[in-house]
């Protein structure tokens, strides 16, 4: 039997959503609308579903978890999503390094090395890029910044929310390399791509 990284169910407003995400795989899901997508991403990031949602993460039902256990589960998931956008008054480097600087790990030189690797992988010059505020970045550049921030501590389950939204055809091709970047740092990780039927 396949081990699941996540099991999700929601029954609301005429939609019934059931989702099994196998561990270590990349799963693509088209949800009925933006509301359903926001609910799913939020539930995963909070490690807690609403009243009409059921969520299991790494085999643990999240409905009656202790706060500490929920915190531990939260630390194992991450998302590249507008729900976890960039902080507007911090430049790209500060955005990438903020979680590491706050939590004290990994060390900042390691974060800088990783950020350089990711940015150079996408043909961006890190030195000039780091100084820019999110408003000065293009849509793809913002997503690359968020990817670099996510990869500083690559989560076991990464939700990729509407990755191609707002991008040109050429930029969409670049986004296709996000999975490779993630796999390079978390070979056993699970990826969940979500978008809406309208976007698809």
């Amino acid at each position: 039997m396949t081990e699941l990284a996540m099991r999700y169910a929601r029954n609301s407003a005429g939609h019934e959503i059931r989702l099994d995400v196998p561990r270590g795989a990349a799963t693509r899901v088209h949800l009925p609308d933006h509301d359903a997508k926001a609910h799913l991403v939020t539930a995963v990031l909070k490690a807690r579903g609403e009243a009409d949602e059921e969520l299991e993460l790494f085999g643990e039902p999240t409905s009656a978890l202790r706060a500490r256990k929920r915190e531990q589960l939260r630390a194992r998931v991450g998302a590249l999503s507008p729900v976890v956008g960039l902080i507007g008054n911090l430049n790209a480097w500060e955005n990438i390094s903020l979680p590491a600087a706050y939590h004290g790990s990994p060390p900042l030189p390691e974060v800088a090395r990783l950020a350089h690797e990711v940015l150079e992988g996408f043909g961006l010059a890190p030195r000039a890029f780091f100084a820019k505020l999110p408003d000065q970045l293009g849509p793809l550049e913002r997503k690359v910044t968020a990817l670099a921030r996510l990869l500083v501590a690559p989560p076991e389950l990464a939700v990729m929310d509407a990755l191609e939204e707002g991008l040109t055809h050429a930029e969409c091709a670049c986004v296709g390399r996000f999975e490779a970047e993630y796999r390079a740092r978390r070979p056993d990780g699970t990826l969940l791509y979500v978008d809406t039927l309208e976007d698809a």
């Binding site: 008054n89 903020l98 706050y102």
Partner: protein, 258 residues
């Protein structure tokens, strides 16, 4: 009424939370945010107050001696009383409310409305640690520094410029100033300005993090409320503090039964 009680409860909780979390200032991003706040609230505000503070000192001396026929003793005494006990801390608080209070409340409300505070939570970053503590600590320090700076400028302005417009020499004014100066006035103003800074920043942070609605329309409402309530808090603290420390209220109109 219910809204007012909710705001008071929220403000008290936030203040206690901030006081308990002051050691978190040692975390690098929190410290960086604190230094930025000190720079913005204190250093960049410093140039704007030079002329106003000097004028304040000169006006006090000139009005006392020239218009009210006070002698040098009385004029310097009133200069010290007004500048150290009342106008210095109040002038700095007004500058901080207008420059920093508006900025903090608008910035926080924008972060809340645009979902950036939610993003911080999902990154495992505590909003109190990262947003509130450095701002409150930074504004406290900046308000105290700005108060001392305003007092220094007002007294210096009075001593240096007044001899050109009234019949009193620089030496006379300075001699009387050092004779009449009491250190308690300085301690009093420093403690009061720290309290002003705390109240302004805590009030603006609370309103910024609790906008009436999560739309861009909520931001100006937040700023208006934060500024109004900060100003009222400063006046209330000023009155209570004067009553507690000197046993007088409203320049002596109300006296404590000590």
């Amino acid at each position: 009424m219910l809204q007012a009680l909710r705001e008071i409860e929220g403000g008290v909780r936030l203040s206690l939370n901030v006081a308990a979390r002051m050691p978190r200032l040692a975390k690098p991003p929190v410290l960086e945010s604190f230094l930025r706040q000190v720079y913005f609230s204190g250093v960049t505000a410093a140039t704007g107050v030079i002329l106003r503070a000097c004028t304040l000192g000169v006006l006090i001396i000139a009005v006392m001696i020239d218009m009210l026929d006070a002698d040098i003793d009385l004029a310097v005494k009133i200069l010290l009383l007004l500048v150290f006990r009342e106008l210095g801390p109040l002038a700095a608080a007004v500058v901080v409310i207008l420059r920093t209070g508006t900025a903090i409340s608008a910035e926080m409300a924008m972060m809340r409305v645009s979902g950036q505070t939610r993003a911080l939570r999902y990154l495992g970053i505590d909003l109190y640690d990262y947003l509130v503590v450095p701002r409150v600590a930074g504004v406290m320090l900046a308000t105290a520094a700005l108060t001392l700076y305003v007092q220094f400028l007002a007294v210096s302005g009075a001593l240096v410029i007044s001899p050109f417009i009234i019949e009193a020499s620089f030496t006379e004014l300075t001699t009387r100033l050092f004779e009449l100066f009491k250190p308690i006035d300085l301690y009093y103003s420093v403690i009061k300005s720290l309290l002003f800074g705390f109240a302004i920043a805590a009030c603006c942070c609370w309103h910024g993090l609790n906008p009436p609605d999560l739309t861009p329309n909520g931001v100006p409402k937040v700023v208006t409320r934060a500024v109004m309530q900060s100003a009222m808090l400063v006046l209330a603290i000023n009155a209570v503090f004067a009553y507690l420390v000197f046993g007088i209220l409203f320049f002596g109109l109300v006296k404590a039964q000590l």
